[in-house]
Subunit: 321 residues, 2 copies
């Protein structure tokens, strides 16, 4: 990534260097690599496509932090906190352009199409989401569409890009895309659950941060369906009277009504669905690795639920492997 | 453009509709059209490439307005004023992605390369410029580099894209690129002059707005070289004591030291250089149209100097045609 982002411009290089220090989980490029490894492929091409996908993801994170006015990212000051919105918007644009340039160098038309369409879906989705903030009429279907645009479509695109890079058949590309899609949903749902009940949400950033910003996620949608407590939740959201003081009460309701457990269950179902897609491939070390990556990733996520005593009550627990 | 930007998302469509109402001068797509018209070409392909170039330009304007916190664009409320920074950043990203998608549909690899490289140059240039604000050490060379990154490179790319679309030879592509480059410099310089002395700068937005923001342009660089007045100008810039009250005095100095006239002269030289590049083509109606477009564009710009009594003292006046 450093090599691709090399410029003769010390200003932007400083910013990019800072960005590359905390590299995150590199989930999406990992998916590109693992899916491509199912077939023979060109190693240099694969590396560049994985880099391009991570650049797109990084660019969207940088712009998201401007949009959300976030002060922190990956445990450090966000770019916009350190360098301001101006440089952050420009750095994001620069990263997008670099990714496109890299894909174009290899003349990967289908990759280009998948990636540019994904960005269109992500951006228009985020604008749509802004219009839905604090709207308690949001349905489960709205939530899944939101999650698709926010997370699942880039997961799906990452797997598709890996498959395309290794010249797989249309059917194989489609299966791997489906796998990425399901994993993306599973991941986003748990991420939304953790916003209420993770250890870090209790110690670090305020629990219920999403909801305080008006972003209504699956656990809340489930809880709003509760006959007894639903109307109270709708009321505090609509009246914007939620605060970090009332969040613990809300979390209690999310647990009591089963909304948290039900969300975890849905996440599990998506994970299972993704793994099932992989069954369409004959078993191989590469398929095994892809399964393990998914399980490891999600287990790691589920573990963060431990401290709440939620772990033991996990539905479906143990029947995924 | 409307057709390409059609989505099933009413939120982003509202924003884009607003953006498309005031279409500006459409300079860059016009350059794509006129350069391509020198050779036989596919009309649909040309239309889409011209649209892509304008989308890139629009995206950069939308992001620029976020960056500069501009309240006005093309005589109306800016997107960020009306819809906020969040939607503006996302709309810009959406426009970029749509442009790339469109170019990719036609599999125009060289166009893609030119456009993505241009965006990289523009973004990294703008970041560099931010670091140079209020820096009175700025040289003429720095200014030309800044103008290249800000304006001339997209002008050059627009002409290159037109030439590529019409399958011209490498030599022809290069000549037209050179033409666009020169026109871009000429245009940017006059734009910077007009910031001090145009009618609108006296009636509408504050004169010297660029300099108040720390952006030091060619007339100021020339004036800073003046033995008598140079140090005063440097002082007010460095101490950031410039205000809309002292700008009239500064403009007076820019006129008295000849800095304004010298800048206009340089703009003329670039225009002549651009027209000279066109001489390498045999005369044809298409070449004639390209010349006329340049002259008309620049004349229109020079006319705005009239009210200041600058028009009559224009150097080189009349010897361009």
């Amino acid at each position: 990534m450093r090599e691709v982002l090399k410029t003769d411009n010390s200003e932007i290089e400083k910013i990019i260097d800072y960005l590359l220090i905390s590299s995150g989980k590199m989930l999406r490029p990992r998916m590109v690599y693992l899916t491509a490894s199912l077939h023979p492929h060109d190693a240099d091409l694969l590396r560049d496509m994985a880099v391009a996908i991570e650049l797109i993801h990084l660019a969207s994170l940088v712009h998201d932090d401007v949009i959300d006015r976030s002060q922190m990212r990956r445990g450090r000051d966000s770019l916009n906190k350190l360098w301001g919105n101006q440089r952050s918007v420009l750095t994001g644009d620069y990263l997008f352009a670099t990714a496109f340039n890299l894909i174009n160098e290899h003349n990967c038309r289908k990759v280009m199409e998948s990636v540019s369409t994904t960005i269109q879906i992500m951006c228009s989705g985020e604008i749509k989401q802004l219009a839905m903030l604090f709207d308690t009429e949001i349905s489960e279907a709205d939530y899944y569409e939101k999650s698709y645009r926010k997370t699942a479509c880039l997961f799906a695109s990452s797997c598709k890009v890996g498959a395309l890079t290794a010249n797989m058949s249309a059917k194989e590309v489609s299966i791997l895309e489906q796998f990425g899609l399901c994993l993306g949903y599973a991941y986003q749902i748990i991420d939304d659950v953790l916003d209420f009940v993770s250890e870090s949400s209790l110690l670090g950033k305020p629990a219920g941060n999403d909801l305080l910003q008006g972003n209504i996620t699956l656990p809340v949608i489930f809880a709003m369906q509760d006959k007894e407590k639903g109307s109270w939740i709708k009321h505090v959201i609509q009246s914007k009277t939620l605060s970090s003081e009332t969040i613990p009460l809300l979390v209690k309701i999310l647990l009591e009504t089963g909304a948290i457990y039900k969300s975890i269950e849905v996440s599990h179902l998506f994970l299972k669905c993704g793994l099932k897609a992989l069954d369409k491939f004959p078993m191989s070390p590469a398929i095994q690795e892809l399964r393990e990556m998914s399980l490891f990733l999600m287990e790691d996520y589920y573990k963060k639920l431990n401290c709440q005593g939620i772990h033991d009550r996990r539905p479906l627990s143990g029947n995924i492997h």
